[in-house]
Structure formats: C-alpha cells, structure tokens
C-alpha cells in the first residue's frame, strides 16, 4: 500500500472531525445554555475534586495505609487530564508550536513539548509556594493572587512570542522549507532523511520561539497543584502533596503529548496537502494568530480586575 493512499485514508477522518466540531461549535453558540451548563459543571466538578482531595490527604495523614495514597495519585492524575482539557492555554500553545514549523517534528518532540509544559506548570506552583513560605505567609488568598499575577506575565510573554512569529510569518522570514524536494513531499511524509544537516539561523530562531512559547505557557503556576500542595502543607503531609503534584504533572503531560501529536499529524497533512511554501506560511500565521487570540482573551480577562477596581 502506497503512502499516498494511506494519507488519503488518514485525511478523511480529520475532515469529518473538523466538520463535526464546527457543527458542535455552531450548535453551542446557538443553544448558549450548553456552554453555561458546561461552566456550571466545571465549577461543580472542581468542588467534587477538591472534596476528594482533602479527604484523601486527610486519610493519608491519619495513616490509613497505601489505599489513601493511591486514591490521591489517581485523583491527581485525573485532575491533570481534565485540567489540561479544560481551562488554560497550554493546549493552544502546543498546537501552535507544531503548526509553526516547517520541518517535520519527530514523535519524541511531541511528547517532550507536552511534558515540558506540564513540568514547568507544576514546578512553578511548587516554587511559588516555596517562595511564599520562605518570605511571606503561604495563605490561600495570597497564593492565588500571586498565581494570577504570574499568569499575567505568562500571557504577556505568550503574546510577545505570538506577535514575533506573526511578524516573521507576514514578512516571510520563516521559510527555508523544502530545499527543492517539493515534488515528492508526499512520498516522504514520514521520512526525516531529507532534512539538511547544516544549521539555518532561521530554523534556530524558530526552535527558540517554540521553546520560549512552551516555557512562557508553563510559568503560570497550576492552581490545582497549588491547592494540593497548600492542603498537604496544612495537614503536615507535604510528601504526599508532592506525590500528588507529580501525578498531576503526569496527567497533564500525557494529555498534552496526545494533543501535540494530533496537531503534528494535522500539520503534516496540511503541508503534505499543499506541497508549497505558501501553505506552510499560512499555518505559521494561523499558529501565531491562535496564540495571540488565546493569550489576548485571557489577558483581557485578567486585566479586568484592575479596571474594575
């Protein structure tokens, strides 16, 4: 079976998923109660998870053996997965990371990108608590306020990288793409061999932009990890809290890696489809626009608390 046929087979489900999602979106916009229900549900879910978390941590404290610890780990892992699918900007950044590329990324890079965000996102929470504990009081209000402030820095950084990439995309400074092997890109869809060994400054800059983007998204401390660590500190079982935070990071990393791999496949299909620089450029511009839109919306939301003061 040739790769062309395979690609065609791969492509059609994407089309259908796209159409289904579009229909779903339009439906959600029309029947607006749906989204409100979703928001209500996520608030309700957060309550349930916070309840389970504090019960599990209290059980760990009262020394009920490994069952409580495993419960905690499972809850935290699930929280990581849902947290990634729910609010936040990690997803869009991972998607953008893979759209703003011209060379085909390897599978490992997809996994690394997801893991990197998950790692920085939870590490930021741990660091924030540590700093607060050392220099101030690590109260809930203070921690959440600081988390929101750092979140804003993160949005600004994402916006800056987004505008940088947009500018690069518009001025056409990013495409050193096909090195003359345009004619048979299809056949090489999953083949890295034609990548040229020498370093392009443009490519280095693009990789830098990608990692900057991932790190910028990661430095916003994870509110869930923050709560787990604060709760475990309050109950005097900080080690259990750290295990919980690691489980959250794992859940996030797995989910983000799947999203990253999906967007990588999508990007390959798009580029493979067009076989031209123009399409690659369009995806790069689209990537920066996604980033700008997401970070911009979130930043506006954060800024409203200063305006409304």
């Amino acid at each position: 079976m040739s790769l062309t046929v395979k690609a065609r087979l791969l492509r059609s489900p994407f089309l259908w998923v796209g159409v289904a999602l579009l229909a779903g979106l339009v439906g959600a916009l029309i029947f607006s109660d749906g989204l409100q229900e979703l928001a209500r549900f996520s608030a309700e879910y957060q309550q349930r998870i916070q309840r389970s978390l504090s019960t599990a941590l209290q059980d760990v404290k009262s020394g009920s053996g490994s069952l409580a610890l495993w419960t905690l780990v499972i809850i935290c892992f699930g929280y990581g997965v849902v947290h990634t699918l729910g609010p936040g900007h990690g997803k869009s950044v991972v998607v953008a990371y893979f759209l703003d590329s011209s060379r085909p990324y390897g599978w490992m890079e997809g996994i690394f990108a997801g893991a990197w965000i998950a790692f920085t996102h939870t590490l930021a929470a741990l660091l924030l608590v540590a700093v607060l504990k050392l220099f101030f009081t690590a109260g809930l209000f203070g921690a959440l306020r600081e988390a929101r402030n750092v979140e804003m820095i993160s949005y600004v950084m994402i916006l800056m990288v987004g505008f940088w990439r947009l500018w690069a995309g518009l001025t056409g400074r990013l495409h050193e793409h096909h090195h003359g092997d345009d004619h048979d890109h299809h056949e090489h869809g999953h083949d890295h061999a034609h990548e040229h060994g020498h370093h392009h400054p443009v490519r280095a800059r693009r990789t830098l932009a990608g990692w900057l983007l991932l790190t910028a998204a990661g430095i916003a401390p994870c509110a869930g990890a923050l709560i787990v660590i604060l709760l475990s500190m309050a109950l005097g079982v900080i080690w259990a809290g750290i295990i919980g935070v690691v489980a959250i990071a794992l859940g996030m990393a797995v989910t983000l890696a799947v999203i990253g791999l999906a967007s990588m496949v999508a990007h390959r299909l798009i580029v493979g489809d067009g076989r031209s620089r123009e399409i690659g450029r369009v995806t790069a511009i689209a990537a920066s626009l996604i980033v700008i839109a997401t970070a911009g919306t979130l930043l506006m939301g954060s800024l409203s608390r200063f305006i409304l003061r």
Binding site: F14, L15, V17, G18, L21, L22, G24, L25, A28, L35, Q36, L38, A39, S42, A43, Q46, Q47, R48, Q50, R51, L53, S54, Q58, D59, S62, L67, G86, P87, G88, H89, K91, S92, V95, L99, A138, G139, L140, F141, L144, R148, A223, I227, L230, L231, A234, L235, I259, A266, L269, I270, D273, V282, T283, I290, T294, G301, S304, R305, L308, R309
Partner: protein, 222 residues
C-alpha cells in the same frame, strides 16, 4: 478546503477554553445591617469558607492548634487579611443611592472556626443526588471505614464596615470578577428588611454572553 477543515478542527478544540474558568474558593456570604435612629450605620459581612479552603487556612491562623482563634491570632490575621483584601476593595461594592463605591475604611474584623462545618457546598455531599433530589438508599456512597480524626470545619470571617454617613438604604454586592473565588449570598439568611436580587452590572464574564451574576442584597432601615 481540507486545510480549512483541519484548521477549524484545531480552532474548535481551543474555543471552549475560556468558557471553563472556574472558582477555586467558595464563600457563603451572609449580609447584615446595623441601624441607629431609623438609619443604617454599618454593614456586616460574614464569609464562610468551603471546607477545603478552611482546611488550608486554619493551620496558618490557629498557630497553637487548639481549634480556636485566640485574640492574638485574630489580631495577626486581621493585619494580614485586611491588607490583602483592601487591595481588591474587599471584592465589595456598596451603594447608598447614586454611585457604587468601595468600602472606604478598614472594617472591624473578627474570625472564628465552626466545628463541625457550618457551610458545606452542595456538591460536597456524596450522598446528595443532582438538583436537590436525594440519592436512593441503595445507590449512596458509603464512606470508607477509616477512622477520621475530624470532619470538615468552616473558617468564618466577619467584617463590619462603617458607612460614610447614616443612610436610609444600602445595597451590597460582593464578587470576584474573575470567578476565581465564588461568593454566593446565603439566601436562607437574608435579614428582615433586606431583599436579594441581581444587577446585570455585577458579574463575572469570561466569554461575552456567559456571565455569572452576583447576588445584590438591598436593605432599608425599618
């Protein structure tokens, strides 16, 4: 066309992002007013924190761990907390007739710990079903037989704000525009002479068109 489809598929994944911002702290708020000579002089807010937030905060406040807040602990807490809340205007808007204003002065502050909890959010009760319907007996989750040292507790803050001048009526609304902290008026504890309603002005709104409204308590002197 296919490019468009794939791009829209990716965009579709991203759009619900902002709609799902959700609270991490729940507060049940009780509002009381204090009057003198037929006019209102003070507004008192009582915040009851959800069990998880209480559990985080109580060990930090109750330094000697006796489960009560001593006067010295209350004083230390007041110093920290009032500074913290002042910067966000106590998340409260007052209105005595024309324009909304933030509480102008620091309130008189006190705190206590309710054990057992006096505020448990609806979804904290595993035995409770959805929308107020109880779970059937045979479907209820039985708590695992783990010897728990204690059940949930509630941390309570009480803030008494002085109004700039005695007024015949006042309306009070407390909310976090980011919905990180969800403050809901306890509808079972509305004092006489007060009503609770909504003002479309006071809402948390992440996505235009999907607001979470805050409860506005309007009181007039008897």
């Amino acid at each position: 066309m296919k490019t468009l489809a794939i791009l829209s598929c990716l965009l579709g994944l991203l759009l619900p992002v902002a709609a799902l911002a959700h609270p991490h702290i729940w507060i049940s708020q009780q509002v009381r007013v204090v009057g003198k000579d037929g006019k209102l002089t003070h507004v008192e807010l009582e915040w009851r924190f959800d069990p998880s937030a209480s559990e985080i905060e109580i060990p930090l406040i109750d330094e000697n761990g006796d489960g009560k807040i001593s006067p010295a602990e209350a004083k230390a807490l007041a110093g920290d907390m009032m500074k913290e809340l002042e910067s966000s205007g106590y998340m409260t808007w007052l209105n005595t007739g024309d324009k909304d204003f933030r509480p102008p002065k620091r309130p008189t502050f006190s705190a206590r710990i309710d054990d057992p909890a006096s505020f448990v959010p609806p979804y904290w009760d595993k035995a409770a079903g959805d929308a107020g319907m109880p779970m059937p007996e045979n479907k209820r989750v039985n708590e695992p037989p783990i010897p728990r040292k204690r059940g949930p507790r509630t941390l309570v803050y009480i803030m008494r704000f002085e109004l700039p001048k005695p007024v015949p009526s006042v309306s009070i609304v407390t909310y976090d525009p980011e919905d990180f902290i969800r403050i809901e008026v306890d509808k079972k504890a509305i004092p006489a002479g007060c009503t609770v309603g909504q003002n479309p002005k006071h809402k948390a709104e992440f996505v235009r068109g999907y607001p979470v409204f805050a409860g506005v308590v309007s009181c007039r002197s008897p």
